[in-house]
Every structure is written in C-alpha cells, then in structure tokens.
Amino acid sequence: MPENTDSVILDSAAAATSGPALIADVDKRDKPRSLWNDAWYDLRRKPVFYISALVILFLIVIAIWPGLIATGDPLQCQLINSLNGPSSGHWFGYDQQGCDVYTRTVYGARASVEVGIFSTVGVAVLGAVLGGLSGYFGGWLDAILSRISDIFFGIPILLGGVVFLSAVKGGSVTTVSTFIILLGWPQLARIARGAVITAKEQDYVLAAKALGAGHGRVLLRHIAPNALAPVIVWSTIALGTFISLEATLSFLGVGLKPPAVSWGIDISSASEQIRNAPHMLLWPAGALSVTVLAFILLGDAVRDALDPKLR
C-alpha cells in the first residue's frame, strides 16, 4: 500500500512538475507568431536573404570607411598612367585621368549609398504619411492628395529629373535626393493608401474604435503595423532603382558632377573611352549592377516572407 501511495504521489508530483514544462513545450512549437516573427522565421531559411544582406552590409561599411579596403586617394591621379590596363598592384587599371579605377570604384560607393538611403527614407516617410492619412480620413483630403499625386504621375521621373536638376544647377547628393523625394513620393503614397484602406475596414480596427480609441491611437497602434508590409517591400526595391536613377542622371550630366566621385560619373567617362579602354567600364558598372541586384533580391525575399499568399 505504502508503495502504491508513494508511486501515486510520485506520479502526481511528476505530473505537477512536468505540467508547466509540457505547456511551455507546446507554446514553443505552436505559439502564435506575429506577422513580423513569421516573416523573420521565413527569412532565416533563405540563402538569398543572407547573400543580399551581406552585400548591402559590406556596401554600407565601405561607404562609411572606404579606406578599409582602398589605400589610395581617388583624386590623386598621375596622367602618365592614363588608360593603362591592369597591372600588379593596380588590378583594375587606370582611367583617362590616370586615376586608379579600383580606388575610385570603392570611393564611389558612398555617393550611391547616400542618394539611395536619403531619397528612400524621404519618399517612404512622405509617401506613407500622406498616403496613410488620405486613405484613413478619405473625403476632401483624399481627393486633393490623389489629384496632386496624379499631377506628379504625369511626369516620367527621368524627364522630370533632367528638367529639374538642370534648372536648379544642382550637382550634390542633396539636390539629387531632394528631387527624387519630390517626384517619387506619389507612388508610395498610392501603395500606402491602398494598404490603409484595406486595414481600416478590418474588425480589429472597428473593435478599437468601439472601445473609444482616438484617431492617433488607431492609426499608430492598429493600422500602421498592418499596413507597413507593402511599404517596406516597395522601399527596399526602390532603393536599388533610386541608386540606378542617380547613376543615369549623372551620366546625362545633370546629377552629381566631378570632382564628386560616383559610379555614374565614372561610367559616363568610361563610356567615352569604351573603344580604347573597356576595363574602365567594367568595375563601376559591375559595382552598380551588383548593388541594385542586392536590393532587388532583398526586397523580393522580404516580400515572399511577408506575403504568405504568394508562396
């Protein structure tokens, strides 16, 4: 008998101790993951995500400390080396001014990354706020903002860039970024507006409103987290295209201007020498393409992770 009771007690004790552990175990497996946790869980399983993130990380580090991998000075050039091909110590060769192509390519990352980040942050903030507000409140605010974005839509961005930048005689990262923000926000505003309109009809928003939440709380706590996904995806891909746009504008002679060091400027001067020195084109063009590709791939990966419908 005593043995029996003992075992019963032991069993119940075992049940008591293992009970919470068991529940915790179940929790770990089936804990409801939020959209963001789920996306992160998904991303960690994708090699594309790691590769593109690593490339971007490397790029940012190089943009901040170019001296880490390039010892020379991008503006210290020897004309005697003009158009010389690759040699030991200078594997990428020289450009027409006798500058080391490798050094210039490394230092050129900064302008591209700066334009990309500044304009994307500007476009994202302006577009998300204006698009979000017009989607949420509707009415006359929506009507006015939609018409304004229609107007900006009427101008192809490259055309507007050439006209605007040649008028303001710009040539710095600030003017180029300002322009991209000015003409780029309506696109994001439309995306944000659509996302907010979908989100504001959801039950949880109605519930929050019924509980007496004000506009600010509903927008920030309930709508923003749920409408953010398309904004983030679009912004990531747009960052790449903005970098490409900066290079195109610099190529046309209205973006950044020498003595600024940028891939666009280098590609532009290399294109004039393509018959004599094709090596000049390869490196800045390659760096630019890899950068744009990395942002597009990252955006794709994030979209796949955030939008389970596409799987």
Binding site: R147, I148, D150, I151, F152, G154, I155, P156, I157, L158, L159, G160, V162, V163, F164, S166, A167, V168, K169, G240, S244, A247, T248, F251, L252, G253, V254, I267, S271, I274, R275, P278, L281, A285, L288, S289, V290, V292, L293, I296, L297
Partner: protein
C-alpha cells in the same frame, strides 16, 4: 461608356494644367532664361530688361504661364534661341522618337508576354528559373551600360549592325536601340505576365475549360491570356511615357536625333521654349495613353462596367 469617356477627359484637364505648370515653374521659375541666353557673359542691363519685357518675364509666373498656354492652343510653341520655331523641331523630332518607341514597345510586349507566358506555364522548371534570373540581371544593369556594351560589341567590334542610327532612322537601324530601350520594361512585363499566368492557372474557370475538352491552345489564348493580361495592359500603357522619357538616354548613346536629343540640346543650350514645348507634348501623349488603358479594360474585362 460615352459618359465615362467624357468624365475621364474632364478629369484629365486639372492633371494636364498641374503637370504643365509644374514643368513651367521648374524651367522658368527656378532658372533664369535671360542669363542663360548669354551663357557665361554678363548681359547688358538695358538689353536684358528689353528681352525680359518682350518675353513677359517681368509678369508674375502664373501670368506667364497663362500667356504661354494661350499661345500653345493657337499652335504656337514659341521659338528656340536660334529663331527656329519649336513646332518645326517637334515636327522633325517626334516621328523619329515615335518609331523608336514603337520598336521598343513591340519588342517589350511581344517578347515580354511570350517569355512570361511560357515561364508561368512551366513554373519551377528550368525555363522559368532562367527567365527569372535573366530578368533580374536585365533590371539591375543600368540601361546606359547595356546600351554602350551592345553598341561596342555588335556595332564596333563585330560589325553586325550600324553603331549609330542613320538619316531618317530606318527601322533596321533602330532594332538595337529599341531593344536597349525596352530592356528593363521587358523584364517587368515578363515577370508580371508570369505571376499573373501562374495565379490564373489555378482558377476554376480554367479547370472548367480544360474539363469540357477545349484544345490546349484555345484554353491558353481565350481563357488564360485574356484574364492574365489585365495587369500587363496597365503596365504597358503607363510605360509608353517612360519609354519616351527613356529615349533621352538611348538617343544619346546611339546618336538618334529625336525628342530626347532635342530636350537634351534645349537643356544644354538653355533653351526654355524647346524644353517646355517638348515636355508638354510628351505629357499629353502620356495622359492619352493612360486614358486608352482605362478604355481597353472594358474590352478585356467585361466585369468592369462604366457608369
């Protein structure tokens, strides 16, 4: 349908005014057209004042804009700084760019939709992966790099085509420039078609079509393509404007004397009437293309009813 067209046309009016005003302000408000006429020299103050008076530059900007618009509706786009009427430049440049744009548009639509369709039908197979990888590559390499490389390889090194476009811009010279201009959009069209086709291939109406024994060709053209092309048509329509703007780069590479060339010359030589005139016409084309897309919807998708 008729009422819808009228409503859309009326909606275009404020957009047209806003867009042209924006361009007008950028060119006349931000720059100084008189200083630009004299280049690096400082103009004689009396002469400058006279020019300012003649060109209504002393009036407020909105008044200048109204005067300009009045002239445009009379068919007068002003004169370039060498005295040539802008309408004459428009007449010589637009046909050239139109040919280039048509070339690019046909390449983009035909190749893009074909690639997208076959990739979408063979999802996950080798062809599909190939198309995806190729389009990614095309999108990430800037247009002007592709342009120069193709011009160098095909035109200069191997001598397959003319490296620059000849007098009158014949279509055979425009193939490579058209391909370069279409490149990025082609990639988008292919991806868009692929996604759309892949989505629709699981639709009920498609299963029904197969089940009732329709031949495969009919299922694909009548049922799948017609439904899958709706987002593609939107993209193609809005892309006409981008193609014409993209000609700015392509025309520069291949030395084509079209719209992009004229706008570029107008900017380099500080010639506001040329720039504003060309951009205004481009905006009209762009808006017209958007209208056309909305009307095409009705043909493609009878579910969309216009009140």
């Amino acid at each position: 349908m008729g009422r819808y067209v009228i409503r859309r046309l009326l909606q275009m009016v404020p957009v047209f005014i806003g867009t042209t005003l924006l361009i007008f302000v950028m060119v006349y408000g931000l720059g100084d057209p008189v200083a630009a006429m004299f280049g690096d020299r400082t103009p004689d103050p009396a002469t400058a004042a006279q020019i300012r008076h003649d060109l209504h530059l002393n009036d407020p900007l909105w008044q200048q804009y109204l005067i300009y618009m009045q002239h445009i509706f009379k068919g007068d786009f002003g004169k370039a700084s060498n005295g040539q009427p802008v309408t004459e430049l428009l007449g010589t440049a637009f046909p050239v760019t139109l040919r280039l744009t048509i070339m690019a548009f046909v390449i983009e639509a035909v190749v893009g939709i074909a690639l997208g369709l076959f990739a979408g039908l063979r999802r996950g197979r080798f062809f599909d992966t190939g198309v995806l990888a190729m389009t990614l590559l095309v999108v990430s390499i800037p247009t002007f790099v592709t342009g120069f490389v193709l011009q160098y390889l095909l035109g200069v090194k191997w001598g397959v085509v003319h490296p620059s476009v000849g007098e009158g811009a014949p279509f055979k010279d425009l193939f490579i420039p058209g391909l370069v201009l279409a490149g990025v959009s082609l990639a988008y069209v292919a991806r868009l078609t692929r996604t759309s086709v892949a989505e629709n291939s699981r639709a009920d109406y498609l299963r029904t079509a197969v089940a009732k024994g329709l031949p495969r060709r009919r299922v694909i053209t009548n049922h799948m393509l017609r439904n899958s092309l709706i987002p593609v048509v939107t993209f193609l329509g809005t892309d006409i404007g981008n193609l014409m703007a993209g000609a700015l780069v392509t025309e520069r590479i291949f030395n084509i004397h079209g719209v992009g060339y004229q706008i570029y010359q107008g900017i380099v030589h500080n010639n506001p009437p040329t720039v504003v005139g060309f951009v205004t016409v481009l905006v009209i084309i762009f808006l017209g293309a958007n209208l056309l897309v909305d009307l095409l919807y009705a043909v493609l998708d009878p579910r969309i009813r216009y009140a």
